[in-house]
């Protein structure tokens, strides 16, 4: 058991390290550097910058050093909690994305919860009543859910919200709470706004969850232990819930691991369409204006949070699957 935990933890650390390199590469990737764009911006606003001033700026940010050294400098800052300064906002990156990062996670977790609330009963039903009309409907919805890219789904939901209900379904807060500090009222307001993004984000994952669960369960239902349990005199409902569903849940728990990256990924693009106050829209504008420290920090933090989430889901698997617990 300990071996498993250590292995997963090590893997997470290595992954975080690789993500940090990728994030830094994104910071470095655009032609020219951050000073170039800074100068261009200053010049555009009418402040000329001399060559020596530019050199000073470069030296200050260590921009003449090789990639590895620059990465080291950046990492040291990051580990100290300093993610750099956003050029576009003229504020520390941490301030720009603090709340938004938390909200990104809130939205992603809400989507995950929605996914399981829907996928679990439908998946079970569809496997137990295989080839029934309900199974076909569930399967078709599953296919649709997978086929509609979630930003399109967001657009459609928005259109329906507007044309049928006359509502703007975007955002996570009502106007009156938007600029307020945190309060219980604001929290409730957030809860009331969560379902739409959760559904939009969770639908594709739900469709996938239904498929995975249905297939797992169909496999499990054919296993002899189901016959054994039936031969004991267990009622069908109790039997299915206690045995095959329980066994089919294991691979399911491990799918959380790859659903989370998928959902976080989707949340970026969906929050742009639904104008949610998450990191998505900030990432887009930072990329458009080549505010690379901000963009790199967002990519890094999203990656790290996803990896941590995946690690937690591995631990969950440990909790529910005795076979892993008993290992070594």
């Amino acid at each position: 058991m300990l071996g498993y935990i250590i292995r997963r933890a090590l893997f997470s650390l290595v992954t975080i390290f690789l993500v940090s390199i990728l994030s830094f590469a994104i910071i470095q990737l655009p032609p020219g550097d951050y000073v170039d764009s800074y100068i261009a911006q200053l010049q555009a606003s009418g402040t000329p910058v001399s060559t020596s001033e530019a050199e000073n700026l470069r030296a200050r940010y260590g921009l003449d050093e090789p990639f590895a050294v620059q990465y080291g400098l950046w990492m040291r800052q990051v580990l100290r909690g300093n993610l750099g300064t956003s050029m576009q906002w003229q504020r520390p990156v941490r301030e720009v994305i603090g709340d938004r990062l938390a909200l990104t996670m809130v939205v992603s977790v809400a989507a995950l919860v929605f996914t399981w609330m829907i996928a679990l009963p439908i998946g079970i039903f569809s496997a137990v009543r295989q080839y029934s009309v309900a199974d076909y409907i569930a399967t078709t919805i599953g296919f649709m859910g997978l086929a509609v890219p979630n930003f399109l789904f967001a657009l459609v939901v928005m259109y329906i919200g507007w044309s049928v209900f006359g509502l703007n379904v975007g955002g996570l807060f009502s106007a009156e709470y938007e600029l307020q500090g945190w309060s219980f009222g604001k929290f409730l307001n957030l809860l009331s706004h969560l379902p739409v993004p959760a559904i939009v984000l969770g639908t594709a994952a739900t469709a996938q969850g239904i498929r995975v669960l249905r297939n797992n369960l169909l496999d499990e239902l054919r296993k002899p232990y189901v016959v054994t349990a039936r031969a004991k005199g267990l009622s069908e409902t109790r039997l299915i819930l206690k045995y095959p569903v329980r066994v089919a849940l294991n691979p399911l728990a491990s799918t959380i691991g790859y659903m989370l990256p998928f959902i976080v990924s989707g949340s970026v693009i969906v929050s742009i369409v639904l104008s949610l106050p998450t990191v998505g829209p900030v990432l887009l504008t930072s990329l458009q204006s080549q505010d690379m420290f901000l963009a790199g920090a967002i990519v890094l933090l999203l990656g790290v949070m996803t990896i941590i989430g995946t690690f937690l889901s591995d631990m969950l698997l440990l909790l529910i699957d005795p076979r892993i617990r008993m290992e070594d």
Binding site: R222, Y225, T228, G233
Partner: protein, 358 residues
């Protein structure tokens, strides 16, 4: 096979069919036999002859798209109240997942089957699964049920039973698991234990241990055993009566001595000949049954065995369905060889009253 007492279980003309997309499969097609208290009925046949489906039909646990379409399964179940009353229950007529059939499963009929590796849920402890079987039919609290489970494991010869209860199936060997499986099947002292190839997946030493265990347990509590196997050696060792099945039908039925020393049906004879014998001269090829089991969707007309039968009579066996004949000693055989004037049987006469689905 004459017993004064009424049999525990009487199966009459049982038909279980599978309605698949590809067509109708008559997995069990008119099977009749009795099971007596304290006796062992051996059911033998090649894979796919309908042995397991017959067994599962008795407990009504056939998977979709299988369905019992005809016949009767009469269980004579003694009342629990101490009186000598016996309830006659027609299992075939009970509702699918109803309380009555569930009270028979595990309580009156226990099931042990082939795969000891997968017969237990991999994520629940052995104890959890045995205790569940006990508590389903006995009003025992957790502690009492656990004690009973320990008792059961001890009875089937599992050492350190207390610890085993908390182990997961994958931590136990195949033999141990099969013992645990038997313990679970016996949890409520069933009147009938169905053992469906209980030793096929086990190594030879473990096999004989398990069989001995079954015999001992039967002597102790006087239950009936229905032993399904394709291993004639096991049958010879264990059974009192034998049913030989071929393609969902009973080819021959009799006491173990009748089957082994006076086989009637060509199929039974062929089965017995294909057993290697240490008294046989060496380097002689073992006789085998020619041909293969017909495809289930495509069963031959007439006697199902005729394409492979060494005593095939053209014009009879491939046209008409043989009737079951009963000898004075009670041996049943379904073959034209024993019909008066079989070879000369009149075509119109035979086709009049019979059809292939009988």
């Amino acid at each position: 096979m004459s017993t004064e007492e009424a049999p525990l279980l009487s199966v009459k003309d049982l038909q279980t069919h599978f309605f698949t997309d590809e067509g109708l499969v008559r997995a069990v097609d008119g099977v009749t036999f009795d099971i007596h208290r304290g006796k062992t009925l051996g059911v033998v046949g090649e894979s796919g002859c309908g042995k397991s489906v017959t067994a599962r039909s008795l407990m009504r646990i056939i998977d979709r798209p299988g369905k019992i379409v005809g016949g009767s399964i009469m269980l004579r179940k003694p009342r629990n109240d101490g009186s000598n009353q016996i309830d006659e229950i027609e299992i075939g007529e009970l509702t699918d997942d109803g309380r009555e059939i569930r009270s028979i499963r595990g309580e009156s009929i226990g099931l042990v089957f082939q795969e000891p590796m997968t017969s237990f849920s991999p994520v629940h402890t052995i104890g959890n699964q045995i205790i569940e079987a006990i508590q389903l039919h006995r009003p025992l609290d957790d502690r009492a049920a656990r004690n009973r489970a320990t008792e059961l494991l001890t009875m089937v010869g599992v050492s350190r039973p207390e610890e085993r209860l908390d182990e997961l199936p994958f931590q136990m060997s195949g033999g141990l698991r099969q013992r645990a499986m038997i313990a679970m099947a016996l949890a409520c002292e069933p009147d009938l234990l169905i053992a469906d190839e209980p030793t096929t997946a086990l190594d030879v030493t473990t096999q004989s241990q398990i069989l001995e265990l079954l015999q001992d347990l039967q002597e102790e509590n006087g239950m009936a055993v229905m032993l399904i196997t394709h291993n004639l050696g096991v049958i010879a060792e264990m059974a009192d009566d034998v049913v030989v099945m071929y393609l969902g039908q009973v080819a021959e039925k009799g006491t173990v001595d009748e089957i082994f020393y006076a086989p009637k049906h060509p199929y039974t004879k062929a089965l017995l000949q294909s057993i290697p014998n240490i008294y046989q001269p060496s380097r002689v090829e073992l006789p085998t049954i020619s041909g293969s089991i017909p495809h289930p969707y495509n069963r031959p007309a007439g006697c199902p065995f005729h394409p492979r039968c060494p005593e095939f009579m053209p014009g009879t066996c491939d046209v008409h369905v043989p009737e079951t004949l009963v000898s004075p000693t009670g041996q049943h055989v379904r073959c034209f060889l024993y019909t008066e004037g079989a070879v000369r049987i009149d075509r119109e006469e035979a086709t009049a009253g019979k059809d292939a689905s009988q």
